[in-house]
Symmetry: C2
Subunit: 372 residues, 2 copies
């Protein structure tokens, strides 16, 4: 099959759209992405963070990818279509392939849940990827836990991370972090694309944190259309978490079940949930983390004296590319500090509202948890 530029390619060449992207030749050090299915050679990533796709679609008339500013896809003699993205930020990105108007996952990619569907994603190697790498260190365990929720009359799934020693020494009890995903995601997020288990395994192996249990449940956020957050009702999730999940976890795992040993954190809409729930349940949570998910200002706190007496940590983070949120969070952190709260701000360099920011946020927050 001969390579015939499609109309769209010609149109975009005429419009000069692709000249910018294509002006400098991409660096030719392509490697298969680590997010590929086993044995798949594409997509590939180069040292600039560009991603090259190769989609076998001999009879297709047009192929595109959801990354903006990608080069037009060109069909090669083998019938496969090749396209290259602009340099992407370090870390993890969801994407979709469009084939004949159909939005489909890339068959070469592993499938992860985001944007409300299981679909494709690509991992652009980060300069600091070592902290979430799979290494030959003692590993904790991620378990799928099925529990009945009375308030929703459903069997629900949680993932629970237990530290490496949990199953070997049956005596110690551990603090617990309740860790929430964002809108369009679910309870798989932190254990799969978030790599929470590997981040904690590595921190524990380096003796940099106090080992703790992590509980990841579905935040019931996806019923709310994006942009409709003002109408979000926290109560159904609050009931599941406070009245059902926490007692279940304390019954079924060797937890330290008092307030000083319970934390909650979340990303994006999970941060919003964390803020709403922890401020209403000072008696249940001592440590609070919001990752790209708002901030806590002194005026959010109804009774500052009570908060100071019970809260041990407010940790807020943003990606440096999330400018508005980051600026507000720096300010709120300073204000909380002045009010005498142990308040921390972290900014992930050159990342946006994406998982690399949140992996780094967990990595930064974990050493601050349960220190006394």
């Amino acid at each position: 099959m001969k390579a015939i530029p499609s109309l769209l390619v010609l149109a975009s060449l005429l419009a000069g759209e692709s000249c910018l992207v294509q002006s400098a030749e991409p660096v030719d050090d392509w490697k298969p992405a680590t997010s590929n299915q086993r044995g798949k050679q594409y997509p590939q990533v180069n040292s600039e963070g560009r991603v090259k796709f190769h989609v076998a679609a001999p009879q297709a008339h047009n192929v595109t990818v959801s990354f903006r500013d990608s080069s037009p896809f060109i069909q090669g003699e083998d019938g496969a279509w090749t396209g290259i993205t602009r340099p992407l930020d370090e870390g993890f990105h969801y994407y979709t392939i469009n084939l004949g108007g159909a939005e489909v996952p890339d068959p070469n990619s592993l499938f992860l849940f985001g944007a409300n569907r299981w679909g494709s994603a690509v991992e652009v190697p980060a300069h600091d990827q070592d902290f979430y790498a799979l290494k030959n260190v003692p590993h904790g365990r991620l378990r799928e836990v099925l529990f009945h929720s009375k308030s929703t009359d459903s069997v629900r799934r949680a993932f629970v991370y237990t530290p490496p020693d949990y199953d070997q020494d049956l005596n110690p009890r551990y603090p617990v972090l309740y860790l929430q995903h964002g809108w369009g995601e679910n309870e798989y997020g932190w254990g799969v694309q978030g790599r929470a288990n590997l981040i904690l395994d590595n921190l524990i192996a380096a003796n940099r944190i106090r080992p703790f249990i992590v509980v990841m449940i579905y935040g019931m956020t996806n019923e709310t259309p994006f942009g409709g957050l003002r109408n979000f009702d926290i109560r159904p999730f609050e009931t599941v978490l406070i009245d059902e999940v926490i007692p279940f976890i304390d019954d079924n795992f060797r937890t330290l079940s008092d307030q000083p040993h319970r934390a909650m954190a979340g990303l994006s809409m999970g941060g919003m949930e964390t803020k709403m729930i922890t401020l209403r349940h000072l008696d249940k949570f001592s440590h609070i983390g919001l990752f790209s998910g708002g901030n806590i200002r002194p005026e959010d706190i109804a009774d500052m004296a009570a908060f100071k007496a019970r809260n041990k940590l407010v940790f807020v983070s943003y990606g440096s590319r999330e400018e508005r949120g980051a600026t507000a969070a720096r300010e709120s952190t300073d204000a909380l500090k002045q009010a005498g709260i142990d308040s921390h701000y972290y900014e992930s360099p050159e990342t946006a509202h994406e998982w690399q920011s949140w992996r780094r946020s967990l990595y930064q927050m974990a050493p601050l948890l349960f220190r006394n």
Copy 2:
């Protein structure tokens, strides 16, 4: 967009190919498949076991699905393509959508690992689906376990099922079943499409089995091209299982670690592995299960007296549509019985070399394990 029959549709209509499939109108009681992603209305399944697809691909020129004898896909006015399969067997089936020559997963389906890739599958409700249904009963836990394998110098993944009481009463020790997937599959198979955890949860809730631990690891089968099984070398996997995984599991879980309390079973190529390994390690395994994966004849056993002294169960099963294997397995089961072995044969009604046969096989074998 107007519905224009594609050339292929016209060709197949002219050839009369689709007339047979389309002659009787499908029963109009379509329901979204339980294997769909949350909120997706298609694919749908009817009471005949037909599957109806609906693929949004406005600019595509042809859409097909990998189920043979499906009706040609017709594009509707909304640009989406609809096609219907023949009546399929009860249970779980992998499939692929073809769009413009590209083999892609159906974006509406959950993604499962089979045929050497993460891809689409559809669940056709079975008359006996209750035994693997998610119910409000006490649930065991499936944990992801990462361990270092010295012989392969890699960190490998296992899934370990522990029974409902495992984390609550920390005293009892449990027997262990090592349970293998087939060629083109991996360690996820039994816990995801196999529903091993739900099958055991339900059997335990009904007090029909002695609770046991299940260990699911990658059988290292996918490096061998299908059809090249004669050249399959069992030793690398045997080393991982016998020298690395079993000691690791006995160190890290509350197992009964003696031979009478250790079983091995597998499906298809995993059955072949089970046979090879258990016959060479009578001192390690007392119970053997082969699901659509060959059989054990008296002449396979080197020392019948030793085997009779140590083996507690040989369980062999096939789907009724696997005629050759089923016939041979019936014969070998009788021959073993005559030799004094506790030998059982089970045949899954009206299923082929697919997961419904294997779910039923686990369900049938589990009550026979570890009875004394």
